[in-house]
């Protein structure tokens, strides 16, 4: 049984501008110790997918539906608030993008860390403090005892992000949802945090869902990658296969758009024309069609389903009618 099983997840928000389908029929599963990358542009539904796994989508205005949304066989959708509280921070925890706004500026680091332990494990204050200090030490924060009495503003951005990670890992969760965990950080600090997440994953066996728009980060961290566009999953494959031969024009476009540290610099980047669509007014058929160079007549009238491709040992799926044609001209992004 998969650790996390998501089948046909749909999240919509009823707004003044109409119904926004932020997530529209997304399915995937997550195994123990695995890292799943979730890639897409702003507004593609990555973060909302993550929030719904935590039961954190505000309802109303949001409406979350799914054929299945289960953690070790238990349905997240049917959990009471009390049950959800027990799961959050304990079995499933989350690291947010911006450590400045997601830590409470009025409480010391120590208070924020020990609270997690006191709520979930009913340990004494002294024991909680000891474990909090150990947690900070694990994520490479020097002088952890001293840091416990400091406030978030006294720490640098990289330190605050480490505190977020320490907090996320205190109760040894089974699933860590990391939403752009390094986007706000400089590259040298990002490298530290990614190394840290990998080593903690090895020692704890945590499964990670990594939401990011940085294809380099995904390449280094993920076992499998889900690519989202306008609320839908458009391609899913192992990281190697995806980067080597993208089978959806959007994935190929994304890979072509990224400037690289190696190879030719003379040519213009293969940008994707146009901009991401307005989710409240999606075009009929395939949502990517207006920006797609491969579109055929059929794309305007029918939404392409996820086709299963590849062998059973490395299954991959793509939502494109023309995937066979792409398979031939696959090297678009793999010139490094």
């Amino acid at each position: 049984m998969a650790l996390l099983d998501v089948r046909n997840l749909r999240v919509r928000f009823e707004t003044h501008h109409g119904v926004v389908r932020a997530v529209d029929g997304v399915s995937f599963s997550l195994e123990e110790g695995e890292t799943l990358g979730l890639v897409g542009e702003s507004g593609s539904g990555k973060s909302v997918t993550n929030l719904s796994l935590m039961g954190l989508v505000p309802q109303p205005p949001g409406v979350v539906e799914a054929d299945a949304l289960t953690l070790e066989g238990r349905s997240i959708l049917e959990m009471s608030d009390e049950e959800l509280r027990r799961v959050r921070g304990n079995e499933v925890s989350m690291i947010f993008q911006d450590p400045m706004t997601s830590l409470n500026p009025l409480l010391t680091i120590g208070r924020q860390l020990t609270e997690v332990l006191e709520v979930h494990e009913r340990v004494t204050r002294r024991e909680a403090r000891r474990r909090a200090a150990k947690g900070l030490d694990d994520v490479g924060i020097p002088e952890p005892e001293k840091r416990l009495d400091q406030y978030p503003h006294e720490l640098s951005g990289g330190m605050r992000q480490r505190v977020m990670i320490a907090m996320g890992l205190l109760c040894s969760p089974k699933v860590l949802l990391a939403d752009e965990p390094t986007t706000a950080l400089d590259v040298t600090i990002q490298a530290q945090i990614l190394e840290l997440m990998k080593s903690l994953q090895e020692s704890h066996g945590t499964a990670i869902v990594l939401v990011t728009h940085d294809l380099g980060v995904v390449a280094g961290m993920s076992d499998r990658v889900n690519v989202m566009y306008a609320g839908k999953l458009v391609e899913t494959a192992s990281a190697e296969a995806l980067f080597e031969s993208p089978r959806h024009p959007y994935t190929a476009g994304l890979l072509g758009s990224v400037p690289r540290l190696t190879g030719d610099t003379g040519a213009a980047l293969d940008s994707i024309p146009g901009s991401p669509p307005d989710l409240a007014a999606l075009p009929g058929g395939c949502a990517f069609r207006p920006r797609c160079g491969q579109a055929i007549d059929r794309c305007a009238s029918e939404v392409p389903p996820l086709h299963v491709l590849g062998s059973s040992s490395s299954p991959r799926r793509t939502a494109c009618f023309e995937h066979a044609r792409l398979g031939g001209a696959a090297a678009q992004g793999g010139d490094a």
Binding site: D186, L269, A336
Partner: protein
């Protein structure tokens, strides 16, 4: 070689921090830019890279005159422009334009695109009132926007389109030099590529020079001819693009290049990484000697404690006590 368009010499910009307390205690000085020199040649793109707080943006703002330099000079076509009065500066302000990072904050939400683009023309008397609109429409066309959208407001455009408006506004002055301060870092990848391509195309078409400030090294590699790497208010290395990426000299440049993840799992999972320890120190109290010494992994190769006491000067290429080597390990050259 042609004479440089822009010459920056020993530029310093320090900011007093904290008020002079009740007892007149002198304020601390934040040394944002602390003695940097470089040239930008006509038609060239010079990249300025470094992490947050290294002084890239302050440098840009000091060059365009948004800050007064604490010391040092900025020269444009051989004439000193730092220290000029507002009025004396006016003709140069036209020649050096700027594009900002945040396309949401750098356009006035209450002005239409027509008035955003016509205003600089009006201020600098560059076109008669009836010509301004036509001029604005041509500018929109040049940056790939529909000229018919000239009466729209910024909120009616997406982030990438707004950044195009920012580019059009800079172009309105027919500048020689555009200072681009993180022009693509707020944009999604696919849109980022569009704006990078646009900047390259405009450079070719109008013979522009760019000072391109960014923290994304892959973008910088794509667009720049030469690159200066900054750390805590100083330039630690400056070199031609390919030289810098294939044979980085300064240990900080090597670490910075090594930290960039490659969008290719085969490279990303096997390459050696230099992971720096700790954070960038505060520019309020920079380390003694070489500012990078507390985080430097190659400090052991320098005999004695020279790195702690003696500040290395920027030589032909890099500011490090280590001798320059041709066979330095290159984290980027993996092909």
């Amino acid at each position: 070689m042609t004479s440089p368009l822009l010459q920056v010499r020993d530029l310093h910009k320090h900011f007093p921090v904290g008020s002079k307390g009740l007892f007149g205690r002198p304020a601390q000085m934040l040394r944002a830019v602390d003695g940097i020199s470089f040239d930008v040649h006509p038609g060239e793109t010079l990249g300025l890279v470094g992490e947050s707080g290294c002084g890239k943006s302050t440098c840009a703002r000091t060059i365009v005159g948004l800050h007064e330099p604490t010391a040092g000079t900025v020269m444009y076509e051989g004439a000193e422009i730092s220290g000029l009065s507002r009025k004396e500066r006016a003709p140069y302000r036209r020649k050096i334009q700027m594009i900002f990072q945040d396309p949401y904050a750098s356009l006035d939400p209450r002005q239409t695109v027509a008035s955003i683009l016509a205003e600089p023309l009006k201020i600098h008397y560059l076109a008669k009132p009836r010509e301004r609109r036509l001029h604005a429409m041509q500018l929109l066309d040049a940056v790939g926007l529909n000229p018919r959208h000239i009466h729209r407001f910024p909120h009616e455009f997406s982030g990438g389109q707004r950044q195009r408006i920012g580019v059009a506004r800079a172009l309105a002055m027919e500048p020689d030099l555009i200072i681009c301060d993180e022009p693509v870092s707020a944009l999604d990848v696919s849109i980022q590529a569009q704006v990078v391509n646009l900047l390259e195309e405009l450079q070719e078409r109008f013979g522009l020079s760019y000072l391109f400030i960014a923290h994304d090294l892959a973008v910088v590699r794509h667009i720049c001819d030469r690159i200066a790497v900054m750390y805590l208010g100083k330039i630690v290395e400056i070199a031609e693009r390919d030289e810098l990426f294939e044979n980085p000299q300064h240990p900080y440049t090597r670490a910075l290049l090594s930290a960039v993840p490659h969008p290719d799992p085969k490279i990303e999972r096997t390459r050696e990484r230099i992971v720096l320890e700790g954070d960038v120190p505060s520019p309020l109290d920079p380390p003694s000697g070489c500012r990078f010494h507390p985080r430097c992994v190659e400090r052991g190769r320098v005999t004695g404690d020279r790195c702690v006491h003696e500040e290395p000067a920027l030589g032909a290429r890099s500011a490090c006590h280590l001798p320059e080597s041709a066979d330095a390990p290159s984290p980027a050259a993996h092909t």
